[in-house]
């Protein structure tokens, strides 16, 4: 492990010049720059990050905070890894590295974040699983730490955010269900206080009203994003007196459990009940394949990365043109799971009575 001092001596230069050459400063002679960088490559010199960080007051990495033990963003784990790629491509050009900052299960998310910020762990932070009112965003806001959130809080704190278009999903799926004759539509929302549940339900309510229908509270199910709860959801739906004929799944992890729960009771998804859900690598291989909302995860990541860069003084190309707040679009992928048109007056209960 060679240091800048040794490299300088080896080149008969001062460490100052070497440093400038390594960092592509303009005031160093082009020829010496070449010579230095050449030697650095040969001897395997890489600036020590601690020294550099200390002096520059920045670490050169960006942290994506995640809490282990939970399903990461509540939308399955492949989701987040897709986004990581995009973030990295956005950061790579600026010499920033992306690291996942893993909050241990038993730790409080807020105090963990505070500790990391105080330590100077990263130059910018990306938060996900945003709650309606999230102490983490107020904290970062007040302390002027550059950050972006994947998901939005209830009240806008002026920070940048991106969020999947949950309102759009609500509208589109309800329109689609209603157009096919469905009236009783089961909806799912996360059981915790993440904001997306409210956003989804608000839009769903409006969409129903536009069709002269109403959200019935008994058809709103609060779930954890995992297979087990999907299974329980099936049981709950089937135990209702007036069964819904359609169901929307807010999270891809629910699908398989729901399918199994329905199938065990002799209800065939896609035939006896319509299902729309969220995309995952598996959607197309389910039987029936899932009609679902797909999003461009890589693009989402790139957008996140760029929004974060824009909030970091050093990297903001132009004037700090205000915070980014963008709803990320989704595309409906047609599968077999909602291929079910109801004649008026037909309910799931009557259909299944005569199989």
């Amino acid at each position: 492990m060679i240091g800048i001092r040794a490299l300088a001596k080896h080149l008969n230069l001062s460490i100052a010049t070497v440093s400038r050459a390594i960092n592509d400063h303009p005031e160093v002679n082009a020829k010496t720059r070449q010579r230095v960088q050449q030697a650095a490559r040969e001897l395997g010199y890489v600036p020590n990050q601690s020294g550099r960080s200390l002096r520059r007051g920045e670490t050169g990495n960006v942290a994506f905070m995640m809490e282990t033990g939970h399903e990461i963003t509540g939308t399955g784990d492949t989701f987040i890894l897709g986004v990581f790629n995009g973030i990295q491509t956005a950061l790579a050009d600026h010499g920033l590295d992306l690291v996942a900052m893993l909050c241990p299960r038993h730790d409080d998310a807020e105090s963990f974040l505070k500790r990391m910020v105080a330590r100077g762990f990263a130059d910018g932070i990306i938060l996900s699983s945003i709650k309606r009112v999230d102490p983490r965003v107020s904290f970062l806001s007040e302390n002027k730490v550059p950050f972006v959130t994947l998901g939005r809080t209830n009240a806008d704190m002026g920070q940048s955010w991106l969020d999947s278009d949950f309102a759009g999903m609500a509208r589109q799926s309800i329109d689609r269900f209603v157009a096919r004759g469905h009236r009783r539509i089961a909806l799912t929302v996360p059981g915790d206080t993440t904001n997306l549940g409210d956003i989804f339900l608000d839009a769903a309510g409006e969409a129903m009203q536009a069709h002269g229908l109403e959200l019935s509270p008994e058809l709103i199910f609060r779930i954890e994003p995992n297979e087990e709860d999907g299974y329980r959801l099936a049981k709950s739906i089937l135990s209702l007196a007036d069964r819904p004929t359609a169901v929307f799944l807010i999270n891809p992890s629910l699908t398989l459990g729901l399918y199994r729960g329905l199938t065990e009771a002799g209800i065939r998804p896609g035939k006896d009940i319509a299902v729309i859900g969220r995309d995952s690598p598996q959607s197309a291989f389910l039987t029936p394949s899932l009609t679902c909302f797909r999003e461009d995860l890589d693009g989402l990541g790139v957008a996140l990365g760029e929004a974060l860069l824009a909030s970091m003084p050093k990297y903001a190309r132009h004037a700090p043109n205000g915070a980014v707040s963008k709803v990320w679009p989704l595309e409906l992928v047609e599968g077999e799971s909602d291929d079910l048109v109801l004649a008026p007056g037909i309910s799931l209960a009557t259909r299944t009575r005569s199989p």
Copy 2:
């Protein structure tokens, strides 16, 4: 953001004493230690990591290297997050943090690792997706960087490793298949040069021989760990003249694709063909539920963390008691997917001819 200097002044102490108090050095008076720590909490002082790293020559974090864009360890993403928890519980007691070191897709894994090591990114490293001969482990070995691998190389380089018991999986599933009358057994191994494929096949060959059978090369399928390849696998299997009656899936991501591919051809998994696979949160909710190998991911993580700690001079409790090399046990969870007993002489081809 308060520094140690300000804190010292506020307490009328030298920064030396404050530092010692913060770090629980024994030579500081118990009373002053209390006073210092109290004030630190109140004023929100946390030692700056860059300064500390620079002086101590260590960063206080441990990196788990992963390559985005790939299925992380080739065994699905939930796998790795389960392991993270365990690692963290092992590290937490020693004040170490776990960070995921994300190698961008377009980067070469080896040079990325070298860069990170030279930078002094972490005090210890965990590697996964180990190749038969992996330049990363030789590099870390030669440079005396503390590390552990999840997976083993072909030739032991003397480092610590843990690895899931792929040999055991091979033996157990073949024994089980054969006991139920299967003779033609399809096996899957990763298409790349990860070592586990060889380990698995060696053990499978031996297990077959023990039953007086042989591995036929046409029944060994090299696959990528994703649903698409599972689907293709089904097609390949069905296109064989003498069809296998059983199949082992080395990766959980294959299952759903295989199921779909079989079902489309009218072959019912669990009824017409036996399937054993790897556990995932979904195994139990598949139809038929998957007979699969489950492992204690949290425990695996803890073991990994402890093995790493043992290889770090500062944390090695006792004498450096040599490298850990442990095969991690798996448990067979019985599902519905291999609930199929063949009468002698019955092959899949003849069975499906008369449905």
